[in-house]
Symmetry: C2
Subunit: 307 residues, 2 copies
């Protein structure tokens, strides 16, 4: 049985919109309320029927037993300050931020007495943003990581866990510091590298942009999807997961230099051995249902739609 | 009208197999012959009906008016030595190698008098290899780059161009050195970076492999497809396109260090500006029909098949 009857979404972008769609799809007996900073976003959310959209954050959270902060990581504290006075005793505050340590550090001091805080991060997204980008299936078979501080009421955690499962996700609980390291590896550094590679291609004068675009199917293209993600969201991720990002980045450049050296010296054995090792992880990801085994993700077989 | 009546494929992996399927799909009045080094590959090619499979390379090329070398870049010279005595005067030798400068340097001295040489590279592939991985649509709407040396007979180039167009590809002619630089940007360095990132993830003791796999959908997963490509093929690419790869890699690490520094110093403006710039290229790739605009390549909407 769902513990919540009124769920408030603060920030109405891709993630909040997908939560709203997924609640409706699941048929949960829940009223969804919402608020976004700008009028245009609120209007769009109303048009999309995402829920009862309020002009103030405080209005949206009043009476809610679950409040999910769906704004960029660097905006969490400001939003929390705004809603704190309107929160109901016994309500749960959660979030969907891609970094957990810094969000916890920013939110906890602002929590009113008697309000639970269960930070979360659904590991599901696309390169698109804004309310129109959301869809009900976004969380299906994806993981949602909860990182409750040690003194959190286990019932509040269990209730949020059931909520995410109803939305299609699998839930895992871990501590925030470990989350931030795991995500540095599986998400943050990959995004930084993809952005860098696309930036380099964009910047070369000897190879034109139209050549890069034309010949992108040879590998480059796979990077451009994640390098098209929202700049504000990603700025905030890197500023807020600085330590783990720099740590993994250090490992990355160390390994890259070793491969670079092998290329320079013509050490084919080193290269081949390295490239062989990396295939097992791909296999594991497909077996775990986190990607499709279709060649080229099945893209090659279907011509790309125009536009 | 197709200039060729007998096309020999030397090496029977993903690319050769796809050429054979695409010839059949196009209904070209052409006999396909083929040869692969190992008996098992030849057997598989026979089972797949890829053409008249010969036990020797010389046998496959005898009487052919087009011979396409479909082996790893480092194996081109050896194969060319083997077939040279059996080539027909007036025949065209081509290849599909991912590097062009070094292949030309290796092949040209071995060309018999009266045989044309039109090097080529279809910019289409998947992460799978071997004859069973081939399919007729692989080249559809993809580019095939031809890099004929300056003294090549234009009729030989035009005939090969028509051949690739019949297989579904668009053809572009450029010089080999420029090809190798363009491919370093759009393919070779992206592959090296993807291999490195997957290697780093595989190597961390603080984050387990099962965690990496579980949480890969957050971005990492996009890298693993290209990092699952054939190790031998890629070893040969890097050994043979050393100069351009190291050149672009130098640019990449320079930019990466600048972003790393911005993270360390908390320079959010630098990060946001960089991440904004890279979105235009993605848009261009989608508009050019080289990728799909479906979120997450359309993967998210369809659950991944098992296996
Ligand atoms: N996209 C992903 O792949 C993904 C995956 C998992 C988690 N997340 C996390 O989910 C959160 C939201 O991401 P999203 O993809 O849904 O973003 P989005 O589509 O860009 O939407 C962001 C929302 O936050 C609001 N917002 C932005 N800056 C704000 C500020 N300074 N103060 C108040 N509101 C502000 C925006 O309001 P306006 O429209 O009114 O400006 C918008 O409604 C982020 O913390 C992100 O780290 C994202
Ligand atoms: N895969 C791509 O994405 C892609 C895209 C464009 C171009 N290319 C280029 O296409 C060529 C073939 O790639 P592919 O993907 O088709 O490879 P593949 O599926 O791995 O097949 C390679 C073929 O070459 C043969 N071969 C390997 N080493 C050899 C050697 N030392 N001597 C003789 N034959 C040898 C193999 O024979 P056995 O099976 O008998 O060992 C096999 O038949 C490469 O030059 C590659 O750079 C690849």
């Amino acid at each position: 049985m769902m513990a919540y009857r009124r769920v408030a979404l603060i920030g109405l972008g891709l993630i909040a919109s997908s939560i709203s769609h997924a609640i409706r799809r699941a048929g949960l007996p829940v009223t969804v309320t919402g608020h976004a900073r700008t009028g245009a976003t609120r209007e769009e959310a109303r048009r999309l029927g995402l829920g009862e959209i309020h002009d103030t954050a405080a209005g949206a959270v009043r009476g809610a037993d679950l409040v999910i902060l769906c704004v960029p990581v660097g905006a969490m504290a400001g939003v929390m300050e705004e809603i704190a006075p309107a929160l109901e005793p016994g309500a749960t505050v959660s979030d969907v931020g891609s970094v957990k340590g810094s969000v916890i550090a920013a939110i906890r001091p602002l929590l009113p007495e008697g309000v639970h805080f269960v930070p979360g991060h659904p590991l599901a997204g696309t390169e698109h943003s804004g309310p129109a980008a959301g869809f009900a299936a976004l969380f299906d078979n994806r993981w949602c990581v909860l990182t409750p501080p040690a003194d959190t009421d286990p019932r509040a955690v269990a209730a949020l866990e059931a909520f995410w499962q109803a939305l299609g996700a699998n839930v895992e609980v871990m501590d925030a510091e470990h989350h931030d390291l795991v995500l540095a590896v599986t998400s943050h550094v990959p995004h930084l590298i993809a952005y860098t590679m696309v930036g380099v291609a964009d910047d070369l004068s000897r190879v034109t942009e139209s050549e890069v675009i034309k010949y992108s199917a040879a590998g480059f293209r796979d990077f451009t999807r994640i390098a098209a993600s929202d700049p504000t969201m990603w700025r905030d991720v890197f500023l807020n997961n600085k330590e783990a990002t720099l740590d993994i980045l250090g490992r990355f450049t160390e390994e890259l230099f070793a491969l670079q050296r092998a290329i320079r010296l013509g050490d084919g054995e080193h290269l081949r051995a390295y490239f062989t090792r990396t295939r097992a992880i791909r296999r594991g990801i497909i077996d775990a249902g986190q990607d499709t085994a279709a060649p080229d993700f099945g893209r090659a077989a279907q011509p790309a739609p125009a536009g």
